[in-house]
């Protein structure tokens, strides 16, 4: 009985891959149906993995044929940045974001905002990032242009111990609070910021909460911070 069961599963998975799910749904016996579904999910994952291998090959081939022609938008911004500030880009591969060095970030930010064909006038989001307990930190800026409706993400790696990065508070006014929050959570110092203090945690809070190696402090002004479990559970 199991052989035709597998046949039934195999062909219903084929049909499901083409997209019509009811082939699997109307199998009466519950066990085979769940087996069929599992097989379908496995098949899908293999299909995706196979697709994933081809794309880099495809991309590489595409890059060789027409390196300049229809690059992604991020690549154009990267090229423009490299031309304006030689040496400011960290790595060359641009898949959706630009990796930059921190030194010329303030001038690059101003350039990105004032350049007529970029016009990134709204800083959407500043995200602090921690690669691991002893690796380095990173700040990710999502920029967006209200007029051209395009967006870009810029990442800047910072060393963990002396984490300094130029502040873009003068370029986008909202940077003021975003950077204070990133400072509050990760301890990244934004050089040139007007009021570099904590914004969410109290001033006398110990440690940088979102770093991976953060331990909660025991007491705060005489109040026990961690959960006192005895007597409860």
């Amino acid at each position: 009985m199991s052989s035709d069961q597998d046949k039934l599963i195999a062909e219903s998975v084929e049909k499901a891959l083409q997209g019509d799910m009811d082939a699997i749904n109307n199998i009466e016996d519950r066990v085979t149906r769940s087996k069929a579904k599992a097989a379908l999910v496995k098949a899908k994952r293999e299909a995706k993995a196979a697709v994933a291998e081809e794309t880099p090959r495809a991309e590489k081939s595409k890059a060789e044929e027409a390196p300049q022609a229809e690059q992604t938008f991020a690549a154009q911004v990267a090229v423009a940045l490299e031309k304006k500030f030689p040496g400011s880009l960290d790595t060359e591969d641009v898949n959706g974001h630009i990796q930059m060095k921190g030194e010329q970030w303030y001038e690059a930010a101003q350039y990105l905002r004032d350049n007529p064909d970029f016009l990134f006038d709204s800083l959407q989001c500043v995200t602090g990032y921690d690669y691991g307990t002893s690796e380095d930190l990173e700040v990710r800026y999502n920029l967006h242009s209200m007029t051209h409706h395009h967006a870009i993400e810029i990442r800047i790696k910072i060393d963990r111990n002396d984490s300094k990065i130029p502040s873009v508070e003068q370029v986008w006014r909202i940077g003021d609070w975003f950077e204070r929050e990133t400072y509050d959570m990760y301890g990244i110092e934004f050089v040139g910021h007007s009021n570099m203090t904590r914004i969410l945690c109290p001033e006398d809070w110990a440690g940088w909460p979102l770093r991976k190696d953060y331990e909660t402090q025991e007491m705060y002004h005489g109040i026990v911070v961690p959960k006192v479990k005895d007597g409860w559970e």
């Binding site: 006038d121 989001c125 995200t127 990710r140 909202i174 609070w177 914004i199």
Partner: protein, 372 residues
């Protein structure tokens, strides 16, 4: 940069104040009446949302997104679910898309009702608050029949929704919409065209468009300043491109463009648009199984994503970095009320004490979302 002569004293419109919409402290330098400098101090409701997201699995994050913006919990779930689905390339069945739009727009109406009612309170009109809460209770009844909760729903999951529409739910939403449509005219007579309200909010707290964009202000506050920017139209997610609705923009009817009255009136018009969208969605809702695309184990592929949705307060965006494990590696929520509050210091210099509270009320902030 004081704009006022005479000595200045520092005053705290502190964490516990009837018109700060929660626990926000405004450190104010004033000469007794005119305010020369306002510094909003936040963090009194910092509940470590992002630390929780780095320790709980993707499904467990959803109740925390509810509690960030507790007035529009559905829109927060919606934003989060859409972001994770795009990260995992899940295609959600058509019926779920329609349900999500209906529920999100109803929650937008409920959120605007609360914002406008509380704004009437800030400016001194007590009865509109009671009228608007009476109608908001009807929406909460609908949500109660749908998912059992009044305020924090945990309803929109990654890949689907938790419960399908109960029997007769579509008819009750229709009857609510028909009941609610004339009520907006009632609010207009009650508050919008009230002489004192216009006197208190017209020309007060003007926010020029370039200041709004530089401060990252979005949503009804930005549209009040005349900038036509709405994620549902400009960067359509889910199935918003299927519905035709227009984006109300401030035109300076009772003063200049971008004053408190415009921000208030844009929200009132937005409620009408939400009714229009809900009606079209109700008409076109297909049948289907809502639990079909719910993944057994949410384990997104490696990578990061930044996706924006339109919550009643503006651009609600999630930046999720996943390392392939069922627990997010990093999740940052870009909260619209955070940017709306940052502009308060800029646009309320030189106004009187009561005007600053009117400006704060018109920005419609929620502290749970600002402090995360």
């Amino acid at each position: 940069m004081g704009v006022v002569h005479g000595d200045l004293m520092t005053l705290n419109i502190g964490p516990q104040h009837p018109s700060t919409h929660g626990v926000l402290r405004l450190k104010v330098k004033t000469d007794g009446e005119i305010i020369s400098e306002v510094e909003p101090i936040i963090g009194y409701l910092h509940r470590c949302f992002e630390k929780h997201c780095e320790n709980v699995s993707y499904e467990q994050v959803i109740p925390y997104t509810d509690r960030c913006d507790y007035i529009a919990a559905m829109n927060n779930n919606f934003g989060y679910a859409v972001t994770v689905e795009e990260l995992m390339e899940i295609k959600v069945p058509e019926r779920v898309e329609y349900i999500r739009v209906i529920v999100a727009e109803l929650n937008r109406i409920a959120s605007h009702l609360l914002a406008l009612g509380a704004y009437g309170l800030d400016v001194g009109a007590f009865t509109p608050f009671l009228y608007m809460f009476r109608d908001r209770e009807r929406i909460l009844d609908l949500f109660e029949t749908l998912c059992g909760a009044r305020l924090l729903y945990n309803y929109i999951w990654v890949g689907g929704v938790s419960h399908d529409f109960p029997k007769g739910f579509v008819e009750s939403v229709y009857s609510f919409l028909d009941y609610f449509e004339p009520k907006i005219e009632e609010y207009n007579e009650l508050l919008t065209y009230n002489k004192i309200f216009i006197e208190r909010t017209g020309d007060v707290g003007v926010m020029p468009p370039e200041v709004a964009v530089s401060y990252g202000v979005t949503g009804p506050n930005l549209r009040g300043s005349g900038v036509k920017w709405d994620i549902r139209k400009d960067e359509p997610y889910s199935i918003y491109e299927k519905f035709d609705f227009d984006i109300p923009v401030g035109v300076g009817e009772m003063g200049t463009v971008g004053d408190c009255w415009d921000r208030y009136y844009v929200r009132m018009l937005e409620m009408k648009e939400s009714i229009k969208i809900t009606r079209q969605a109700l008409k076109g809702i297909p049948t289907g199984d809502v639990h079909q695309a719910l993944p057994k184990k949410i384990r997104p592929p490696q990578g990061s994503i930044y996706k924006r949705t339109e919550s009643p307060r503006g651009d609600l965006a999630y930046y999720i970095v996943s390392d392939g494990s069922p627990i997010p590696y990093r999740l940052k929520m870009r909260s619209p009320a955070f940017t709306a509050l940052s502009v308060l210091g800029e646009i309320s210099q030189g106004w009187m004490m009561s005007d600053v509270l009117a400006i704060l009320g018109s920005l419609d902030i929620v502290l749970g979302e600002i402090d995360r």
